[in-house]
């Protein structure tokens, strides 16, 4: 799944932000610039994927 950020702006001046397709805390980091630009965060809800590990593979194997 590709990474995207969805924002929904309500007519009362609130905005909901949702990260899709991110693994782990990459979503949190990627969306921070929008929160900083728009105003004050009033609620925050983690989804299951927030706790998934971000796996980095470099192809190297260390021998003991």
């Amino acid at each position: 799944m590709s990474e995207e950020i969805v924002l929904e702006f309500w007519e009362d001046g609130q905005v909901n932000l949702e990260g899709k397709g991110f693994k782990g805390q990459a979503c949190f980091k990627e969306m921070q610039f929008l929160k900083d630009a728009l105003g004050v965060e009033t609620s925050f809800t983690r989804k299951q994927e927030f706790y998934q590990m971000e796996v980095k593979r470099d192809g190297k194997v260390k021998a003991r």
Binding site: E8, L17, M31, S43
Partner: protein, 135 residues
């Protein structure tokens, strides 16, 4: 997916504020000043309040007063709107909400493009505006 956030929008960006006012129908009717200028009442009387972004009373409504946005020391804009215009010209909380909505859309579009995102915008039937950012 990983998290949801809810943010209360604050007005801090002059360009996005002007663009938001254009979305609400004030295209070409917004004054922008480096130094705060006086606001005037419906009889042409100078008021004590000053503002950096101003919509003059002839554009605000019937028997209206100037509508102003004064930049504070913390960078946030304070809104000057008369009690009369709140009550009779509908510059009320609902209007402020729509202004913040329009501002938020403009601000998010601006910041997302700086980060290299492609932005698509959709107006929903219930009044919400949805932006989808991809790259």
């Amino acid at each position: 997916m990983s998290h949801y956030s809810e943010v209360a929008i604050e007005l801090t960006d002059e360009g996005c504020l002007v663009a938001a006012l254009s979305r609400l129908g004030f295209t070409g009717k917004v004054e922008v000043h480096k130094e705060a200028q006086a606001l005037y009442g419906y009889q042409g009387d100078m008021r004590l309040q000053k503002a950096h972004v101003i919509i003059r009373r002839q554009h605000v409504g019937s028997a209206a007063n100037d509508l102003g946005f004064e930049r504070q020391a913390d960078g946030k804009y304070r809104v000057w709107v008369s009690d009369y215009d709140v009550k009779y010209n509908k510059y009320d909380d609902a209007w402020m909400g729509r202004l913040k909505q329009a501002y938020g859309v403009e601000k998010a579009r601006t910041e997302a493009k700086k980060k290299g995102y492609r932005v698509s915008e959709q107006k929903l039937d219930d009044g919400r505006i949805r932006l989808v950012l991809r790259r």
